[in-house]
């Protein structure tokens, strides 16, 4: 059973549009949700993260919206740029420090100029 699900395998947007990536999870014990960005040939890098006590986290052009009751969250990439073209992984953990991150299957975003 997939504990963290990302609804789209791929997404194409035009430069300047907002890309919306969706994620849902099964385990109510999860309380820390990072999004990782991965470029080909590289390791994943933390983009932005949210704790379950919050419903929104913003960092520049990137915003996470979190719905604890529905067990879903989304990553919004505002004013998408070609350099944002990458694979984005939603992840979750029961954050007691050092716990395993459970990753979704990833959404590959392509931003066309």
């Amino acid at each position: 059973q997939q504990q963290v699900r990302q609804s789209s395998q791929s997404l194409t947007v035009w430069e300047g549009e907002t890309a919306i990536l969706n994620c849902s999870y099964e385990n109510s014990a999860f309380d820390y949700f990072p999004w990782y960005q991965q470029f080909p040939g590289e390791g994943p890098a933390l983009l932005i993260a949210i704790r379950s006590v919050s419903d929104k986290k913003e960092d520049g052009r990137f915003t996470i919206f979190f719905n604890k009751r529905e067990k879903n969250l989304s990553l919004h990439i505002k004013d998408s740029q070609p350099g944002d073209s990458a694979t984005y992984f939603c992840a979750a953990s029961a954050d007691q420090g050092g716990r395993a991150l459970i990753f979704g299957t990833g959404t590959t975003v392509s931003v066309s100029p």
Partner: protein
């Protein structure tokens, strides 16, 4: 930012042989992890390691797998013997102790078992 270094970047090995993947974590980090990724797809947790001990491991962390970090040296993942299905990219990661601390990943070692 902080870097996790993985050596080598690519390794080809005959099925049944032993392989050791090496990781140099961020210097002041205390938690260490291995993840497995097949064909650019989902990252799957294998194991985490703290204070010289395995803290958690997944079903993917088979009996043929082992990890260690002798004092001041690399954090290693050893597979003995290797199987064809072990072909994947293995990512090492590290973090500080504490809730919500960022986990930093290396660039991965691509392991090909032939």
């Amino acid at each position: 930012g902080p870097k996790v270094l993985q050596i080598p970047s690519h390794q080809i090995i005959d099925m049944g042989q032993m392989v050791t993947l090496n990781c140099d974590p961020v210097s002041n980090h205390l938690y260490f992890y291995w993840y497995k990724q097949i064909l650019g797809q989902q990252m799957e947790f294998l194991v985490n390691f703290y204070n010289g001990k395995v803290m958690e491991k997944s079903k993917l962390f088979k009996d043929q797998f082992s990890v260690e970090r002798p004092d001041g040296s690399y954090f290693t993942l050893k597979i003995q013997p290797t199987a064809l299905e072990d072909s994947a990219v293995y990512f090492c990661a590290s973090s500080l102790v504490g809730e919500g601390t960022e986990v930093f990943f290396g660039k991965g070692t691509r392991l090909t078992v032939v």
